[in-house]
Every structure is written in structure tokens, then in C-alpha cells.
């Protein structure tokens, strides 16, 4: 079968505008999109530029948009794409500037990884004085003890340490689109990974404090795209939500995101309803409230004004009971 590959082309060296170029490629059984691109490069047009390395979905180099979705080209079979779309349309990842053709500038992505301090902060006390030594004849090494259960969030197939930093989630992330300072799912998954590590000795909880700052975990918009598009089946958003819970439990509540959630929970606990004015006040303070005025005014014009005084709902007892049960579960 011969099929068409439509490629996004851009080389600021030779022209200032991007354009699309089509190539006809002959397929073979099991052909991947990366195979197709390599075939074009080696046989038809050497100027087509893209990153690639391992061809087995572990290095994360060849992430690109394939028929509109961020994927690894090496892992994407040609056949089902053709059946579905009739063509292979390849474009660079989103949320990062394009350098050339399918290659994006990754500096901002990796800067955010660096920002979360992706390493153990200090050591568990019994490990602190450990010294390297080669074994002498007949000698054995004594291992520090860590039980399976301590690593239970780090050793599963779809747990965050499996992240290959391919940037698919970052490219699809709804939070990054309007908020360039947002760390994004991959960096936050890494933050989660280290915050769950039993060896980490983060004595003053600085990880979650830093992660709660602007651009951090509270800027996630919960669109779930990171989970949906991760080629390794990881769910960064689940980790982010777990960090939210952990932050609140540890009273790291200075961020507007945390305040927002606490206020909502409180409002429902007290009245069974969402007191939007109070929530806005609790979240952003008086300045936040003033900033929200134009929006409130606009909403008012459309007849959407939240009630100033909330009446308790009928089934308040049920709500109180539900809260009590959640409390028992430690949520």
C-alpha cells in the first residue's frame, strides 16, 4: 500500500513561513510512523528534520503530533492511522517554540524539571554516614532495610518513575496553554515521585511548599489530558491530586488553590451550598474580590448573581454525616 505523509515544514534559515509538504511512502507490515519518516529522510528528502533515537518507546525523542495527537512516532503504527484518517499528518509538539520542522525547543520544559529539585533532599539518618567501600575477601555488604510497602507508590508499572520526559503530556496540557509559568504535568509527576520517596529527608516539607507556589501544583486545571496522552500509561494528574491532599493535611495552605478548596469544603459543610462570594474572598482576599468585580458585574448583567445570604439546604444532616465519615477516613 502506498500512503501519504503530510509533514509540517519550517526552517527559519531558508524561509520565514511554515508550510506543509506531502510525501508518498510505500508501507511494509508493522511499519511505524518513525519508519515512514526515516524512509522519507533516507530515500526522498534528507532535509526533513526530526529527533529520534531508541525506536522502542523508552528514550522519548520522537514525540510529535500525529494526526493531531501528541504521540511517540516510534510506537505509532501506520496502518490504524491510515484506516482512521486516510493520511499521516505530522506536526511538532505544542506549547514549545518550533526550532525546525518537527523539532521543538525543549529548554523551557527541562528548566521546569530542574525547578522542582528532582533529587533526594538529605538522607535518612542511618544512611547519612554510609561510606563507599570495596569488599575484601570473604566480606559481605550490609544493606539498609526498606520494605516493599515503603516504595508502593514508586514501583508499579504505571507509576511516575517510569516517566521518560517525552513531553507528550506537556504538549497536550490545558494548564500550560494559557499559563507559560505552569510547571506542567511531567515536572509535577517528578515532584510527586520524590515526595513519595521513603529515602527523602525533606525535614521542613519544603518540597510541597515550593510546589504550592504560583505555577505549581495548584495551577493544574484537571483536564486529565496528561493521563490520556501519556505513552507510558502514567497519570501525572493523579499524583497532583494526591499532592493537593498531602499539602492540605500538612497545613501548607498559603496558595490560593489550597484556600479555594478549603473554603469550598467549609462552605458546603456549613450550609450545604457553595457560597461563591465567600469562596472568592477566602481564595483571593479583598484584592481578589476587587479583581473579580468586573466578572461579577458581567455575570450580574446576565442575571447570574449569587445569593448574598445562603439558606441551609434540607438534607444538612446527610451532609454532616458524610463529612464525619470522610473525617474518619482521614481525608
Amino acid at each position: 500500500m502506498e500512503f501519504k505523509v503530510r509533514t509540517y515544514r519550517f526552517n527559519p534559515d531558508t524561509s520565514d513561513k511554515p508550510y506543509y509538504k506531502e510525501y508518498a511512502v510505500q508501507d511494509f507490515p508493522g511499519m511505524t510512523v518513525l519508519n515512514a519518516l526515516m524512509k522519507i529522510k533516507s530515500e526522498i528528502d534528507g532535509t526533513l528534520s526530526f529527533r529520534r533515537s531508541c525506536r522502542s518507546a523508552i528514550c522519548g525523542s520522537c514525540a510529535m503530533k500525529i494526526n493531531g495527537i501528541s504521540k511517540l512516532a516510534c510506537k505509532t503504527q501506520v496502518n490504524p492511522e491510515i484506516t482512521k484518517f486516510g493520511i499521516i499528518n505530522v506536526e511538532p509538539l505544542a506549547n514549545m517554540p518550533v526550532v525546525r520542522d518537527l523539532i521543538v525547543e525543549q529548554e523551557s520544559f527541562f528548566d521546569k524539571i530542574k525547578e522542582i529539585r528532582p533529587y533526594l533532599l538529605g538522607q535518612r539518618e542511618d544512611e547519612e554516614h554510609h561510606k563507599f567501600h570495596a569488599l575484601k575477601e570473604g566480606e559481605k555488604i550490609i544493606q539498609p532495610v526498606y520494605y516493599k510497602s515503603e516504595f508502593q507508590n514508586l514501583t508499579g508499572n504505571n507509576d511516575t518513575p517510569n516517566c521518560i520526559l517525552c513531553e507528550c503530556c506537556y504538549s497536550e496540557c490545558g494548564g500550560v496553554v494559557g499559563n507559560k509559568n505552569y510547571l506542567g504535568p511531567a515536572a509535577l509527576a517528578k515532584l510527586y515521585r520524590y515526595s513519595e520517596d521513603p529515602r527523602d529527608n525533606d525535614r521542613n516539607g519544603s518540597r510541597l511548599v515550593n510546589g504550592s507556589k504560583q505555577g505549581g501544583m495548584w495551577d493544574c486545571v484537571h483536564c486529565q489530558a496528561c493521563e490520556e496522552f501519556c505513552p507510558k500509561g502514567i497519570s501525572p494528574v493523579k499524583g497532583i491530586v494526591k499532592m493537593h491532599e498531602k499539602a492540605i493535611k500538612n497545613s501548607i495552605t498559603f496558595s490560593s488553590g489550597a484556600k479555594h478548596i478549603i473554603s469550598i469544603a467549609k462552605s458546603i459543610q456549613e450550609t450545604g451550598r457553595l457560597d461563591e462570594v465567600k469562596v472568592a474572598f477566602d481564595t483571593g482576599g479583598i484584592t481578589g474580590l476587587i479583581n473579580d468585580l468586573p466578572m461579577a458585574f458581567g455575570a450580574g448583567l446576565k442575571g447570574k448573581i449569587p445569593p448574598i445570604r445562603l439558606k441551609l439546604i434540607k438534607d444538612m444532616d446527610d451532609i454532616r454525616l458524610a463529612y464525619k465519615e470522610l473525617d474518619l477516613e482521614g481525608k
Partner: protein, 557 residues
């Protein structure tokens, strides 16, 4: 021109491990890499990293297994270091943040691997390379290391036998740059792309070895090429030895576990050279399944497969269309690893003062004629660490030497000439011809006639390569020109391998000759050293093997 005390080329495990050692001492060391560090091929290692941690295990047993696995060509002084430092290195990695699966006692879990007397491969499911690579990279970030990524190194620069630095091509801008250094470490990995059906990344083009050879540094034991017994039939993608470690069977077309014939005691867990030859024999004698052998894990059960071999399951589904829970996986031997490389001592030192190498690009030699599974990750961290420590010592009275800047110009001109050429040959097609020739004639089974044919083919390709044209004439991110240059490296390495294989008239480890089927300790218990002669031909010399504790014995499993 950039100037740094240490330049580490390559950001796989060996490079990163050395880097951590230097950076934690506050030394001005930078990383130069062809790709972003986390794209390095170390990340594809699956099954395990060996260390004698178990209660009944001992590093001395690991020592012997490795010597025997190497078919007695491994240097025993170096293997003693490798195995006695292994446990401490694993614990060091654990302290740095690397996660290993745990056993019930709270220690690191270990699985059996080929040629090992005990289960001593530490693992993280079947993605231990990935775990180690990212863990070490995170540590390199911790020490705020300068990383020049997407830089392609074209030359080593030395002055009177002392290192001066490197010449590198900045892929992003298309500019050549000289980087002066008091010490240079090459941790540039292997050359898998010399062969078709290999398990290696597309970036593994033997650049570091080729650049070293051109700078007069000898390459050692290059004829020893490891073929991994289990690579996916249609793509050559690796299926970990850990699968057999977990208990997988190898079956021929008759459904027979044929290893009973070749290694009755070790069966599927014989060393890789033995298993790869057994498979190829079955295929050659007509007991293959469409040119492949079947790897059967079904009896392990869904749960164990999902827990211990999740990546293998996914790779088989994605790349072979087979779900190993229900069907056996078609596999065959594929080129995997280079036992040979830049000749170093056990501190990573080479023939040029201040120039080091570690990892797959180096040949210490701890793997000799055949590497045991799980020993290469160990090699990278043990000797990466040692090189880092030795460089730190060396720096105490090392100075910058004269950097011959004309070499920058020279490399620039090579690229410019290539770019301007309107030759009709395409490197992609020449590469495919070379890879197929090497697979067919310098592969699992070798003989003089076929290898001479391969050498002739290499000569022909060298001629045709003079007529290579590249389509891409621009400066910015020109991968076309980089790939064309990589091809010249592949070609040079192929030439060394083929000539070395013709020279060695015996069978040892992974080097098996139909015309000389026996090991010949009297004449060939020695390393081969390849250098480049004035006329561009490969010259060979020899060096002694270090034998300290274990006298060579017949090798059966």
C-alpha cells in the same frame, strides 16, 4: 573557545556517573552530548545490574562467573575490581535515589541471569536502565552541571601525548566549536548501527571509538560483538534476558526446549554467546519458525508478567503484534553490545594522558570475549565512578595544553565539503548495504571466505562514500549532515571489526569461526589492539591478558 577543566562526552550511565563524582567535589566538569542526556541509550537497558548481595552469594563467585563468561579473555585484575566494588556501587546508587524492587526481607530484589551461579541481578521491573539513567541525571542536575546537548564531537585534540580538548559541532546552530580541557572522558557508548537487526538506538554509531582511533588511540578486542539471543523478530528490539531469568522457555518449531542439547545444565540461562549460537543453529537447520525462535513466558502467568515484565509485554504488543500472556514471542539473535572498545586501564586511562573512557565505548576489559547479562550496567557505574575519581586526582597537577585550533577549521571544511557535494550516493542506502553485509558475513557464525567478502564490500562502500551528497544545505539543526558523518564512523568501525575477526583464528566467546571451531589458548589468549596506519589501513598489535586467580579451563554450561 570554551574552556573547562573536564569535558565529559556522552551522557549515558558511565558519563553521568563520572560527572556526579566530579561535580560533588566542585570540579568544573561539563557534559557534551549528541542528544539530551535522558535520550541516551543506557535508558533502554531492561533486565538488571549484577552485584553479589544475597546471603549465600559472594563477590568471589561473581568474579569467577564473569571470568568464565568472558571465555578467559577478561582481565582478572579488572574483573576483581568490578565484582568486589559492585555491592557498594549498588548501595551508592540507591542512596542517590535509584529505586530497585524489594525482596520480602527489605533488601534489594534479585533475579537470575545468564551465566551467573546466583540470582544477583538487581532490577526495577524490566526498566532498570531507565531508572538508573534518570536517577543519575537527576543527581547531575542537583550539582548544577553545564550541559551542552545536541553537540556532535568530531575530533580529539592532543599535544605531545597530552589531551588538549575536543572539537564539536553544535547541531542547533551549525557552528564548530573547540572546547579546551585538562581532562576529557569519552563515555560515548557502542556502535550497534554497524549491524542490521540490532537492539541499539539509532544514535549508536561508534562515534567515540572512531574519533579515538583517528586520534591514534588503540581500540581493543573489536572482533568480539555480542549478539543478544532474544530480540523481536521484525524490529530487533530487545527482549530482556530477565524474561528467561523469570523462567521463560526457548522453543523451536517442534515445541522443544532445544537448549537441553547445547547447555544441559544452564538451559535458557546459559551465557548469551552460547544461546545465540544455539538459536542460530536451530534456525539454520530448519527448526525455526519463519526464521525465528519462540520465547514462551505464558506459564509465568498474567500477574507475574505484568509485575515483572510490563515493558516486554507492551513492546511485544506494540512492535510485534503479539501479547505474551497468550502467545509465545518470535525472537532471534540480534547485535547488542560491543565487548571491544577504546583500550583503557581500570581507572579509565587511555594511551593519551588526560584522556579517559568508560562504559561501552571503553574496553577495560572486564567482558573479554563475551559479556554476561547485567554486567554492562555494572561496568558503567563502577568504571564511570573510578574514572571520575582518577580524573579528580589527575587534575591536581594537570594544566591546559596547547590547543591546535587548525583542527576546528579542518573539521569545518569536511562538513562544508560534504554539504557542497552533489554526489549521487545516499548515505542511508549505503548504510543499509553495510549493515546487511556485516550481519550476513561477520555475524554469529564466521569464516574467512565470507569475512573477506565483507572487507571487500567495505572497501567498495568507502569508495562510493566519497560520492555522498546531502540534501540539506542549511545550518540550523541539520541532521542530514550529522547522519552522513556518522556513516563514516560506522564504516570505519566495521572495517576494524571485520579485519580483527579475520585475524583471530580461533573460536572464543562471541567470536565463533566455523573454520577454527576451538579455543586456542596457546596462540590466542591475548587482546588485539587496532590502530590506524599512515596509509589509512588498520594495523594490529597484541597485549597480554591479566590472569590472577583463575587458570583457563574448558567452558561448558
Amino acid at each position: 573557545m570554551l574552556k573547562h577543566d573536564v569535558v565529559i562526552v556522552g551522557a549515558g550511565l558511565a558519563g553521568l556517573r563520572a560527572c556526579v563524582e566530579l561535580r560533588k567535589k566542585g570540579i568544573d566538569a561539563i557534559i557534551v552530548s549528541k542528544v539530551y542526556p535522558t535520550r541516551s541509550h543506557s535508558g533502554a537497558a531492561q533486565g538488571g545490574v549484577n552485584a553479589a548481595l544475597g546471603e549465600n552469594d559472594s563477590w568471589e563467585s561473581h568474579f569467577f562467573d564473569t571470568v568464565k563468561g568472558s571465555d578467559y579473555l577478561g582481565d582478572q585484575d579488572a574483573i576483581e575490581i568490578l565484582t568486589s566494588e559492585a555491592p557498594a556501587n549498588i548501595l551508592e546508587l540507591q542512596r542517590m535515589g535509584v529505586v530497585f524492587n524489594r525482596n520480602d526481607l527489605g533488601g534489594i530484589a534479585q533475579r537470575p541471569f545468564g551465566g551467573q551461579s546466583f540470582p544477583r541481578s538487581c532490577y526495577y521491573a524490566d526498566a532498570v536502565g531507565h531508572m538508573m539513567l534518570h536517577g543519575l541525571f537527576d543527581n547531575v542536575l542537583k550539582y548544577k552541571t553545564k550541559i551542552l546537548y545536541e553537540y556532535f564531537v568530531t575530533s580529539l585534540v592532543a599535544d605531545n601525548g597530552k589531551i588538549s580538548g575536543i572539537v564539536a559541532y553544535d547541531i542547533k546552530t551549525g557552528k564548530f566549536e573547540g572546547i579546551a580541557a585538562k581532562a576529557v572522558l569519552f563515555a560515548t557508548g557502542g556502535y550497534g548501527q554497524v549491524y542490521s537487526s540490532n537492539t541499539n538506538a539509532l544514535i549508536n554509531t561508534g562515534d567515540g571509538m572512531a574519533v579515538s582511533l583517528k586520534a591514534g588511540v588503540p581500540l581493543m578486542d573489536m572482533e568480539f560483538v555480542q549478539f543478544h539471543p532474544t530480540t523481536l523478530k521484525s524490529t530487533g528490539i530487545l527482549v530482556t534476558e530477565g524474561a528467561r531469568g523469570e523462567g521463560a522457555y526457548l522453543l523451536n518449531s517442534l515445541g522443544v526446549r532445544f537448549m537441553s542439547k547445547y547447555a544441559p545444565k544452564a538451559m535458557e540461562l546459559a551465557p548469551r554467546d552460547v544461546v545465540a549460537r544455539a538459536e542460530q543453529t536451530e534456525i539454520n537447520e530448519g527448526r525455526g519458525v519463519d526464521g525465528a525462535i519462540l520465547l514462551d513466558v505464558r506459564h509465568l502467568g498474567k500477574e507475574r508478567i505484568m509485575e515483572r515484565l510490563p515493558q516486554i509485554m507492551q513492546l511485544s504488543i506494540d512492535f510485534e503484534g503479539v501479547n505474551p500472556i497468550y502467545e509465545p514471542i518470535p525472537i532471534r539473535p540480534g547485535m547488542h553490545y560491543s565487548m571491544g572498545g577504546i583500550k583503557t586501564d581500570y581507572n579509565g586511562r587511555t594511551a593519551i594522558e588526560g584522556y579517559y573512557s568508560a562504559g561501552e565505548s571503553a574496553c577495560v576489559s572486564v567482558h573479554g570475549a563475551n559479556r554476561l547479562g547485567g554486567n554492562s550496567l555494572l561496568d558503567t557505574v563502577v568504571f564511570g565512578r573510578r574514572a571520575g575519581i582518577d580524573i579528580a586526582e589527575y587534575l591536581k597537577d594537570a594544566a591546559f595544553t596547547k590547543f591546535d585550533e587548525s583542527l576546528i577549521k579542518r573539521d569545518e571544511e569536511i562538513f562544508e565539503k560534504l554539504k557542497k557535494s552533489n554526489g549521487k550516493e545516499r548515505y542511508g542506502l549505503l548504510k543499509a548495504e553495510l549493515q546487511e553485509e556485516m550481519r550476513a558475513n561477520v555475524g554469529v557464525f564466521r569464516e574467512e571466505k565470507a569475512m573477506k567478502k565483507a572487507v571487500k564490500k567495505i572497501e567498495e562502500l568507502k569508495e562510493r562514500a566519497k560520492n555522498i551528497g546531502v540534501d540539506d544545505k542549511s545550518k540550523l539543526f541539520n541532521t542530514d549532515i550529522v547522519e552522513a558523518f556518522e556513516f563514516s564512523n560506522i564504516l570505519l568501525i566495521a572495517e576494524v571489526i571485520a579485519n580483527g575477526a579475520i585475524l583471530r583464528k580461533e573460536s572464543r566467546g562471541a567470536h565463533y569461526r566455523n573454520d577454527y571451531p576451538e579455543r586456542d589458548d596457546e596462540n590466542w589468549l591475548k587482546h588485539t589492539l587496532a590502530t590506524l596506519g599512515d596509509n589509512g589501513n588498520i594495523k594490529f598489535d597484541f597485549s597480554e591478558v591479566s590472569i590472577t586467580k583463575f587458570k583457563p579451563q574448558p567452558r561448558t554450561y
